[in-house]
């Protein structure tokens, strides 16, 4: 008997295994229980949640049985990529991304919610509507704006868009893609802001150099063509002229390594996040491929791709003395984190140059009536088929209205003609909406 009952302790190995397993479960439960519970929160808490814009305008609401959105169709469609929908088709929608924030979970009580919880976003529905109208029904593009002091994103609009209340309705091709975060475009001349930063820092005498343009510049066997014949220019004039010949020379003189390291340091090659919502990465040549390609890449062509969001971050940092106020999508009282993206002196010089661009070349009295201190850069990114994306990025150098913006409109031609009016509209809408 002793012999057998001694062996009986082997049974307890199984008991030990169970105790071990339960310990693992309890630890995981403590660690990940919130995620588990909130994944199915719609099923287990009838209270639901709400999304509101910065002025309290209802954007979306839901409970266990239904989803509802703004009564105003224009608001629904303009804010579609901000709110998302029941099916989470856009992938960047706050309904999907901030689901858990609208639920309540505690380790002690699990999900026990009685009242719907409202989440206030930093976006301004009025500004979004303005952007949507400014880009217009039949164009594709993206407009994004943020307060560069607080990081609050006021506008994130992408066209074509969809109506979140109707999952059956046919939508335009690629309507679910949020072009602000989930699409990257050839930047064209707006990329000269990055080349310029590299030159300011690594090409010591750039401000004393002069650059000549005869409408064409030849590197080896490759011709870099320009939009005009700009003659002899200073560095500032070259940026204002958006002179390809000058920037081809600058890019080659600055060198691949300097350009690449600046592109990388400014975050163009990373998957950026907007308050937990992921954006895609841009691209730049990962190795030197000869001077002609380097020249093209310095003027935003070649294989360069950037997201409007990455561009917005860059100009917002320039506006803020090189410090990037971390972009926010959820309105909060907490002080925003500021990180250095651009050297302070570089940012200041770029700011002066962008201001000079507007004053000397962009006809502010026509394009920006009623706005002052606009600093910007145009971009007309050639696609090789005769069309080009129209870019306009910049900011108001005005402490009362500290707004940075990035606008891109697909195959719309000139940046100044096609995209600047959109920027003008959203800036004015943002100022009008200030309470």
């Amino acid at each position: 008997m002793k012999k057998i009952t001694r062996r009986a302790f082997s049974v307890l190995l199984l008991a030990l295994a169970i105790i071990f397993g339960m310990t693992v479960f309890v630890l995981r439960y403590a660690d990940e229980g919130g995620d588990w519970a909130l994944y199915f929160a719609s099923a287990n808490s009838g209270a639901g949640g709400e999304l509101r814009d910065r002025h309290g305008v209802l954007l979306a609401s839901f409970d266990a049985t239904k989803y509802a959105f703004s009564d105003d169709a224009e608001t629904r469609v303009a804010c579609y990529h901000v709110t998302g929908d029941y099916w989470n088709r856009t992938g960047t929608g706050a309904l999907g991304a901030y689901w858990d924030l609208m639920q309540e979970y505690s380790l002690l009580e699990g999900t026990n919610k009685k009242e719907p919880k409202a989440l206030t976003l930093t976006v301004d529905a009025a500004v979004c509507r303005a952007a949507w109208n400014a880009i217009g029904y039949n164009r594709r593009g993206a407009a994004m704006m943020m307060n560069y002091k607080t990081g609050e994103v006021l506008c994130m609009v992408s066209l074509p868009s969809a109506d979140p209340i109707n999952g059956e309705a046919p939508v335009a091709d690629t309507a679910f893609i949020n072009r602000c975060l989930s699409a990257s475009f050839p930047p064209g001349s707006v990329f000269k802001l990055v080349t310029a930063a590299a030159a300011i820092e690594d090409l010591g005498d750039v401000f004393s150099r002069s650059f000549s343009c005869e409408g064409e510049y030849t590197i080896g066997t490759v011709d870099i063509h320009c939009t005009g014949v700009h003659g002899e220019q200073t560095f500032e004039q070259a940026l204002a002229n958006s002179c390809n010949c000058a920037f081809a020379q600058i890019a080659v003189a600055t060198g691949y390594n300097s350009l690449y390291s600046h592109v990388k340091a400014y975050g163009f090659l990373d998957r950026q996040e907007l308050d937990g919502i992921g954006a895609i990465a841009g691209s730049y040549r990962t190795s030197y491929a000869g001077d002609p390609e380097l020249a093209w890449s310095g003027i935003g062509q070649s294989t360069d791709l950037v997201t409007p969001y990455a561009m917005l971050r860059y100009v917002a940092a320039i506006a803020n003395g090189g410090m990037l106020a971390t972009p926010q999508l959820i309105l909060s009282d907490e002080p925003v984190e500021q990180t250095r993206l651009v050297e302070a002196s570089t940012a200041d010089k770029l700011k002066e140059m962008m201001s000079y661009n507007v004053v000397s070349h962009y006809m502010p009295e026509i394009y920006f009536p009623g706005l002052s201190h606009v600093c910007a850069k145009t971009g007309t990114a050639e696609l090789g088929d005769g069309t080009s994306h129209a870019w306009f990025v910049g900011f108001l150098d005005d402490p009362a209205h500290p707004y940075a913006f990035a606008v891109v409109i697909e195959r719309a031609g000139s940046g100044l003609v096609a995209a600047a009016p959109v920027a003008n509209r959203i800036l004015r809408a943002a100022i009008a909406s200030e309470g």
Partner: protein, 574 residues
């Protein structure tokens, strides 16, 4: 909901947890806090030495693990087995000893010879005599043994359990007052009445050990609550099943009282098991991927559940049989056929449960001697399992650990189980207040998560603890069992329960691949409940505390039933 109802619901959550912990603590304290005195049956004497004989089956030899250890040069490590028959006669068996064993000068073989009082057994140059204790002396010794349930009042524990179940009922009535309140109330009423009937019936026959039943009733009560949430319309059927399970528990327990009778029936139990499995392999319906369901007269049941009981019944063995050649081979073949049949049916979970039980039983039976052989046969069986892996099982393996990547596909059940479990928090949503029960098979395969969601993770863990407590008790009480048959059966029974629970709980929580086995007692499902209650009879069989178990006849009763001749001789002494 009126404010008062809300308040009652909240208060009941805390009370349920407190009661649950209290019931567990009391059961653990009662079962495990201290060892209990052995029964004494006779005195073995050789030379000037003597030892009390505390089991019905005793190994004699020089080994430390011998029950009657005779530390003399001439003796072999394991030489003989001394067995007490139900009628009081003692039998001596030679277990392959080189030197041989003789009683009164006649050589004893493996088939044994009676060692009557006054007879002399000669083994390894030692003369061994046996002196039966006799009714009087034994009675006096029995008086000194402490009563089961003396330290912790079983009636108070049962009262706490009753309050626990009434609170569960109150929660159901508060959270979902429109769903079948009468059926649910009746279901709980039947359970509570049965508990007290069982208690008083046991008291009537002088039994005060009630912890195993209390734990079984505790788990069954949680099962009733799950039924009330998931399928209140089936409450009546569930109540009938609980009654049937209890009756089967009593019948099997009473049957196990008689060791010879129990042993004699083992081949029939084996045939019954094989017959059920054969029926299953050839005729049953396919449900949830496995052909493990058998429909008879409108009731569908899983034969594999009942085969579990038969498997334990067949797998356990008395000590002298263990030392017969070939006994293990037969068992291995039997196990292989069982596991093989289950694999054929596609009931991967049950096959695994059986395999784990097989490992434990064969280790108990053979120890290290045959480990090599066992490992080989075990591996062969595992190989059979591997062969049996079908596409749907392979899918379950593929999704294991990645359930959140396929929430609407292969990870459907596990993710919902995890989500619901976490939604309940520490205190739960109240019985009947969860959503997981709306999902198919939540009340069987994901029942642990249902407990987490409705009663909170503490009570869910108490349910696991309850089964673990049974296993610790079984291992402990196996040392004092009268026969190796009861020891092995009790250990095998708790192994089955634990293996099943581990696969159920960890499968639904994505710690193991998902297998559709049941949580003992709690999962809704008739055949499983019947089997679990019957397995309890095996645990009761090993419990030899004074007044501990209805499966164990009190010593006094046995003395009076013993043959007068044996008693007379015993009285005279050797």
């Amino acid at each position: 909901m009126p404010i008062t109802g809300d308040m009652i619901l909240t208060a009941s959550k805390y009370l349920l947890i407190a009661l649950s912990l209290l019931i567990m603590l009391r059961c653990i304290r009662s079962m495990l806090s201290s060892g209990y005195e052995a029964e004494t049956w006779a005195t073995a004497r050789w030379g000037r030495e003597s030892v009390p004989v505390t089991h019905w089956e005793n190994l004699i030899g020089r080994a430390r693990s011998a029950d009657i250890r005779i530390d003399r040069e001439g003796l072999e490590r394991v030489q003989a087995v001394l067995t007490r028959r139900d009628d009081g006669r003692w039998m001596l068996f030679d277990v392959f000893s080189r030197g041989g064993v003789a009683v009164d000068g006649r050589a004893v073989g493996a088939e044994g010879a009676e060692l009557a009082a006054g007879s002399v057994a000669r083994l390894g140059g030692v003369n061994l005599r046996l002196q039966d204790l006799g009714a009087e002396k034994s009675g006096a010794l029995e008086e000194k043994r402490s009563f089961a349930g003396k330290r912790v009042s079983p009636a108070l524990t049962l009262f706490e359990l009753t309050v626990f179940e009434l609170l569960l009922l109150a929660q159901h009535l508060l959270t979902s007052p429109e769903t079948q309140p009468i059926q649910i109330s009746l279901g709980f009423a039947v359970l509570i009445l049965l508990e007290w009937f069982c208690y008083y019936a046991m008291r009537l026959i002088g039994r005060s050990g009630f912890e195993v039943e209390t734990i079984a009733f505790y788990l069954t009560g949680l099962g009733v609550s799950v039924t009330a949430s998931a399928a209140p319309q089936d409450m009546f059927r569930q109540s009938l099943l609980i009654l049937a399970a209890f009756v089967l528990f009593l019948l099997l327990g009473l049957w196990l009282r008689d060791l010879r009778r129990s042993e004699a029936l083992r081949p029939f139990a084996a045939l019954l098991a094989l017959g059920l499995l054969a029926l299953n392999v050839f005729t049953s319906d396919t449900l949830n991927g496995a052909r493990s369901w058998l429909s008879i007269g409108g009731f569908s049941f899983q034969p594999s559940e009942l085969v579990k009981v038969a498997y334990v019944y067949v797998g356990a063995s008395t000590l002298e049989k263990l030392y017969r050649r070939g006994n293990l081979i037969v068992f291995i073949v039997f196990s292989a056929v069982c596991v093989g049949a289950l694999a054929l049916i596609g009931d991967f979970g049950s096959a695994l449960v059986f395999f784990i039980c097989f490992l434990v039983i064969s280790f108990l039976r053979s120890g290290s001697i045959a480990t090599v052989f066992l490992a080989v046969s075990g591996a062969a069986m595992a190989g059979f399992l591997a062969v049996s892996i079908k596409p749907y099982i392979a899918r379950r393996f593929a999704v294991w650990g990645h359930v959140w990547e396929d929430v609407y596909g292969a990870g459907y059940q596990q993710t919902r189980a995890l989500g619901a479990a976490a939604a309940g928090g520490l205190f739960g949503k109240g019985a009947g207040g969860g959503w997981l029960t709306d999902i198919v098979a939540a009340d069987t395969d994901m029942v642990f998560a249902v407990l987490c969601e409705e009663e909170g993770i503490i009570i869910a863990c108490c349910a696991v603890l309850a089964v673990l407590t049974l296993s610790f008790f079984a291992v402990r009480t196996a040392r004092r069992a009268r026969s190796a048959y009861y020891s092995i059966a009790a250990c095998a029974a708790v192994t089955l329960l634990m293996a099943q629970m581990a696969l159920n709980v960890f499968g639904s929580l994505d710690l193991l691949p998902f297998t559709g086995v049941t949580f003992p007692f709690v999962s809704r499902g008739g055949s499983s409940l019947l089997a679990c209650w019957m397995l309890m009879a095996f645990i009761k069989g090993a419990d030899t505390r004074r007044g501990g178990s209805f499966v164990v006849r009190p010593a006094a009763q046995l003395w009076s039933a013993a043959k007068p001749k044996a008693q007379k001789k015993g009285g005279r002494g050797a």
